[in-house]
């Protein structure tokens, strides 16, 4: 469904993303993980049209979308959320979600109906008339998700929707994301909360210093020495294996 071919993006000589390639198959949940500053958000920004890649190609359902404006990419069915939530603070929850719903519904009545339906789906049904600025962190994350869903996407890019949530709230979002996938929307997510990655992702890509250094299922990834080193530093994998061996003895 989504195909990223050797995409590169540099900021002032520093390659945030260096020839990264990946595929997201339709109907799945794919995770993109990696240490801070690995270039994950830049890669999302390139896919959603917020930054134009210097090199490489991005295909969505076989058609090139490289360098298209964000609103055109959104119309084709890819929508992103922001790592740092960006609510329309002066508007109510309902008005926030209606903005997304209007993409597919020109009429106000239909857009409002669609917004309410989406709000209930993510658990914001009771808060529709609250100002968005009055929501808690968890509420804002859900609002971010609801607005994106209201655009009726085929591919949902979630940038750390679980950061800053407590375990109960994380469980709730995990349930909502499963429900979104069950409704036929493909999910591609950046996540640091490993508990969520483990329980959600069918396939994982690991990005480090702009490069994809590993890919596979969660259990495959967890055993790869270069992944452990990317997170814990050079030599960590070796120390862990010897440490484990020592424990066995």
């Amino acid at each position: 469904m989504l195909e990223v071919n050797a995409v590169t993006k540099s900021f002032g000589g520093l390659a945030a993303v260096a020839a990264a390639s990946l595929r997201v198959a339709e109907g799945g949940i794919v995770a993109l993980i990696g240490p801070n500053g690995a270039g994950k958000t830049t890669l999302f920004a390139a896919i959603s049209g917020f930054v134009a890649p210097d090199n490489g190609q991005i295909l969505f359902n076989g058609a090139a979308i490289t360098g298209l404006a964000p609103h055109l990419i959104c119309r084709r069915g890819i929508v992103r959320t922001f790592q740092i939530v960006q609510p329309f603070g002066g508007l109510t929850v309902r008005e926030n979600i209606v903005v997304g719903a209007h993409l597919r519904h020109a009429g106000r009545r239909k857009a409002l109906m669609r917004a309410e339906e989406v709000a209930r789906r993510v658990g914001l049904g009771e808060l529709l008339d609250r100002p968005a600025s009055a929501l808690t962190v968890a509420g804002r994350k859900r609002l971010e998700l609801a607005r994106a869903l209201a655009t009726a996407p085929r591919l949902l890019l979630l940038d750390e929707v679980m950061a800053g949530l407590n375990p109960a709230e994380i469980d709730e979002i995990v349930r909502i994301i499963r429900d979104i996938r069950a409704s036929g929307v493909t999910v591609f997510l950046i996540e640091h909360v490993m508990q969520a990655v483990v329980s959600l992702a069918d396939y994982v890509y690991v990005l480090n210093q702009g490069e994809i250094i590993a890919q596979g299922s969660v259990s495959e990834i967890a055993a790869m020495p270069n992944v452990i080193e990317a997170y814990l530093g050079h030599g960590a994998a070796a120390r862990m294996t010897t440490g484990a061996a020592g424990a066995v003895q």
Binding site: F50, H71, C74, G90, T92, H102, R108, D129, R130, A150
Partner: protein, 322 residues
Amino acid sequence: MTMRQGLAGGLVLVLALMAPLAIQSDFWLGFLITILLFAAMGMAWNILGGYAGQFSFGHAAFFGTGAYATSVLHIALGLNPWLGLLVAAAAGGTMGLLIGYLSFRYGLRGSYFALITLAFAEVLRILANTAGFTGGGVGLYLPLNIGVANMQFAGKAGYYYVALGLALASILIAWRLERSRLGAWLAAIRENEDAARALGVDTFACKLAAIGISGAMTGVGGWFYAHYYLYIDPEIAYGPGVSVEILLVAIVGGLGTVLGPLLGSVALHAAGELAQRLMGDTPGLNLIFYGVLLVVMVRLMPDGLAGLVRRWMRPAGGTQRA
């Protein structure tokens, strides 16, 4: 709209329609005409500034273009003033699209956008001062020829009804916009442009639509002014005075509300009249007064008079918009 709001609105409308029967004084009718004209233009400004969040300091560019378009064609070709309304709307709207295209294309926002609109109005003022067909600095006198077909009335009542019609039409446009897709998208752009783009909003096209509608409505304001006073010059048409007065009406009244500019226009002109009575007709006094008022409003009452009315009507702190 609730039953109570509908009744209140109907009552105000009936009173407004009967006002010329009760008020015989030309002075007070003229006062009401000014209030209605600036309420209509304040609503035009509000579509761009209040809903879309793009503050213009140069709405004179649209006001003056509408005024000159109808005047020049009326004098040169005998264009009927009622048709001039359409011409002025088209001219103001085109000027809006032109200025909007040039500023939004290059991503100008906030104070940069405000400055560029001010600059455009100033350029137009200087052009109108030098060009031949605008009458230069002397200005243009429209021929006196009383008759309804020629949009010239013997008394002020006729003009009052035209101005009332403009204000009502503006209220209707703002009310419709607030409940439309474009309205929802403009509010999203005002609150967070990047988030709006991520949700599929073509921010450039939406802002262009807003400035086009706003420019057309303000152009109609210029049309009314020209046929009401039968005289315009570059200072009146394109000077910063009219730009400031239009934006003050909207800011004092309440940004992004349907009725705010009407409240703002009433308050501003009533206070202005009072200040003039108390302190005499010193030139420039009104500008000082406007400046002080703007600072006070922005500091103490950023949601304007409409916000005050809303808080007063719903002390429990409801979130429904007026």
